[in-house]
């Protein structure tokens, strides 16, 4: 592969990075060179992460502006916990066209066409093990609240929409830490930061055991944040109670510290689940404005939950207002 000419002048622009990223994935999959029949498969092509698969190797270009030292610390956390997080093929990122690039073994994801087969028990157990693991020294904060704040900024920039007001009112009910305006009340617990079903893959080592992927938002913080998407989906009436119970029960049986071992988990989950509901609604409204399309039934259910939040102050949990 010859060098790609930078015709856009934008360092790290995603479209420009893709051919070089594919070439790196190829070279990593076949260090001895030669020809092969594997296609280059683009698994994601967004500015916040571009991912190319070649054979058993995946190369990821992280978001422009990713701090190399922070990314290296997050990679080190994955190297240290190979039974929970998929370990990278190389311990350090490399620079490519102004982007940080990491290399991973390819693991089989959850089938998006069969979400009923989702491994809720494995997800709960993996998160419990992650939260119980010692956080490596110097690991930056988990980026969940920062992502929620970014979704709100995107909503504010999107232009007028009748659903924007209830989403912003719900955002205003959240404590400062959940809006990324203050440090999180927990600065010791290792968290993933962006849990959803696309973040689970089967390990390619033959055991087919599930692992968590994507360390971009990994860090120390409030572990309830990692339970908050399923919690929010359940609260909004989208995730069936049985799926929610499987996930929560597995988390508790594995000794996960985000919620008490028995009894009502909501005092610990209320703020993060509100935040994830608001984040989801904000992105849905912003996309609806951009596409000139009305909200669908599912998106409306999330906005409706925001509307109800403004009438109910967050449940108080010790230290939640720090």
């Amino acid at each position: 592969m010859t060098g790609v000419t930078d015709v856009t002048g934008v360092i790290g622009a995603t479209a420009e990075v893709m051919p070089a990223l594919a070439a790196r994935a190829r070279r990593t999959a076949h260090p001895a060179g030669g020809t092969c029949a594997h296609p280059d498969t683009v698994l994601a092509e967004r500015d916040d992460g571009a991912v190319v698969r070649h054979g058993d190797t995946v190369a990821k270009a992280h978001a422009p502006g990713t701090d190399p030292a922070d990314l290296a610390r997050r990679l080190a956390a994955a190297v240290a916990l190979p039974a929970v997080l998929l370990a990278p093929l190389r311990p350090a990122p490399v620079a490519l066209h102004g982007r940080q690039v990491t290399f991973w073994p390819y693991g089989t994801p959850v089938d998006p066409d069969a979400p009923d087969d989702a491994p809720w028990e494995a997800a709960g157990a993996l998160l419990a093990r992650l939260h119980r693991a010692p956080a490596p020294a110097g690991l930056p904060p988990m980026r969940g609240p920062a992502k929620a704040a970014r979704a709100i900024a995107r909503l504010r920039a999107a232009g007028p929409h009748p659903a924007a007001a209830p989403v912003l009112r719900a955002w205003a009910t959240l404590p400062a830490w959940a809006r990324d305006e203050r440090p999180q009340p927990d600065t010791a617990t290792l968290c993933h930061g962006d849990v959803h079903l696309g973040q689970l893959v089967r390990h390619p080592d033959g055991t087919a055991a599930w692992r968590l992927i994507d360390v971009d938002d990994l860090g120390v913080g409030v572990p309830g944040w990692d339970l908050a998407r399923p919690a929010a989906w359940y609260a909004c009436g989208l995730l069936p109670p049985g799926d929610w119970t499987r996930f929560l029960t597995a988390y508790r049986e594995e000794g996960g510290p985000a919620v008490p071992p028995a009894g009502d988990p909501w005092p610990a989950l209320d703020v993060p689940a509100r935040a994830l509901t608001v984040q989801t609604a904000a992105l849905a409204v912003a996309k609806s404005v951009a596409a000139g399309r009305p909200l669908d039934e599912v998106q409306q259910a999330v906005v409706d939950a925001c509307d109800r939040m403004a009438a109910t102050p967050p449940e108080l949990v010790q230290d939640s207002t720090k």
Binding site: D48, D116, Y234, P241, W244, L248, R274, E297, R308
Partner: protein, 96 residues
């Protein structure tokens, strides 16, 4: 043993005394002679109402706890988004 379909190694599991080989690649399942019948027999036993073990709780709670701002149909029958998974929710499950 290797999977006859995708040739990945198969792993043996014991399910209620029945040996089941599952492929680590395509997740397909191989049953030995008589094992299907054994599973069917167990299924029919399972379907028959069994007397509750002494001291066991009467029933699982109708619905797990939910926050006050949650969807109003909690606690009763599962709501209008019920069994048939909405395509948009399928997408949401996999989105950041």
């Amino acid at each position: 043993m290797h999977c006859p379909k995708c040739h990945a190694p198969m792993h043996t599991f014991n399910r209620n005394g029945v040996q089941i080989e599952q492929c680590s690649g395509c997740r397909g399942i191989f049953l030995d002679y008589g094992e299907l019948e054994a599973l069917t027999r167990m299924e029919s036993q399972w379907a028959q109402p069994a007397p509750p073990p002494p001291g066991a709780p009467q029933a699982y709670p109708a619905a797990p706890a939910a926050p006050a701002w949650g969807a109003p149909h909690h606690g009763g029958h599962y709501g209008h988004h019920g069994h048939k998974r909405h395509k948009s929710f399928g997408h949401m499950l996999f989105s950041s």
